[in-house]
Symmetry: C2
Subunit: 208 residues, 2 copies
């Protein structure tokens, strides 16, 4: 009958924990409230995950992986011409964040509150980013040589794209009440915003 019965208690707890941690953060989350949302006693949570800390780690690992996938999406399809590629990259990144709107705020908050914990993770990430963007910069440079686009710093462009796309969702609850009709219809606003972000970046790289 009830299709929650199909999922194991462990799955139920993980799902409830994800929701709780993403919205309230580690400090704001309560193991009892996670257990309640999952429909189990809080002893079960300790039975499966031992401590709040370990349950949290499970969520964090998943979310950090998802976040890095989202960033990879910006790179776009290398087989396309540079402008189309960037266009597609922005759209893919935007859609990715739209599907995981709570993700960036969670990841950023976590890194701010416990930076030391992610140093190791970061050594790798920095290395990957650097090699990827060296080749991307070369591609942009050669397109600039051919006069197709303006010469730009790829890392700066990358930061701008993330800014425009991520802020839309991170600040949504902050902006929505003060923006009136513009944001009244969420679907429509997000579509407009995606187009606006693409337009903004394309104009940034357009040869003039």
């Amino acid at each position: 009958m009830d299709n929650q019965e199909k999922q194991s208690k462990e799955q139920l707890i993980l799902a409830a924990a994800e929701q709780e941690f993403l919205t309230k953060g580690y400090d704001g989350a309560r193991t009892t409230s996670i257990a309640q949302a999952a429909g189990v006693t809080h002893a079960m949570l300790h039975y499966y995950f031992r401590t709040k800390e370990q349950l949290f780690e499970r969520i964090v690992d998943d979310k950090f992986a998802t976040m890095s996938h989202s960033m990879v999406a910006i790179i776009g399809d290398p087989s396309l011409p540079i402008v189309e590629r960037i266009k597609g990259g922005i759209a893919a990144h935007f859609d990715f964040i739209a599907a995981n709107p709570l993700l960036p705020r969670f990841v950023i908050n976590e890194i701010v509150s416990r930076p030391e914990r992610y140093e190791v993770l970061y050594k790798r990430a920095g290395f990957v980013v650097n090699s990827v963007y060296n080749s991307l910069q070369a591609e942009v440079d050669s397109a600039a040589e051919r006069g197709e686009i303006e010469r730009v710093d790829v890392k700066m462009l990358f930061i701008s794209i993330m800014s425009l796309n991520i802020f839309t969702f991170v600040a949504y609850p902050f902006m929505e009440p003060i923006m009136g009709e513009l944001m009244a219809n969420r679907e429509q606003f997000l579509a407009e915003r995606k187009a606006e972000n693409i337009e903004t970046i394309l104009r940034r790289i357009k040869k003039q």
Copy 2:
């Protein structure tokens, strides 16, 4: 001697509380740790502010006011020609956030975690924003008629400016370790970033 002696205990507690709440949020903050940072017993904190909640409200009120000042800065100097005005508005907003780098994340987190608390505040803010931007939109429209700039939606432009400026600081701890040399020198990076944000927006409104 010690110039901390000059400040009242109340001031010391407020300063310590501001630091603690801005970095760790309400849930992560500990009244004992605030008291310790202020160099007083935690009973003093309750003596002056009764509860953690009331101490927090003092900080929140101050920070929300500061945040709204920062947003007003974007409006710029009405006596300048439109492009100069926008340029100045972006720079002023950027500098404001640079001087209060922890502010946006704090305000956004607070609104996300307790939206109901700020409904009243928001009724007003939405009203003010609307009237300000109606007149601003009219000004932009007339500049567009004269062919000085592209026709743009002022609210969308406003969101883009906030995105570019605020993300720089909100995500700084997240980006810094993966961006290598680009962000090695904070002062230099921020100067470059400010210029980049202005360039990005100016190109967005440039007639083409």
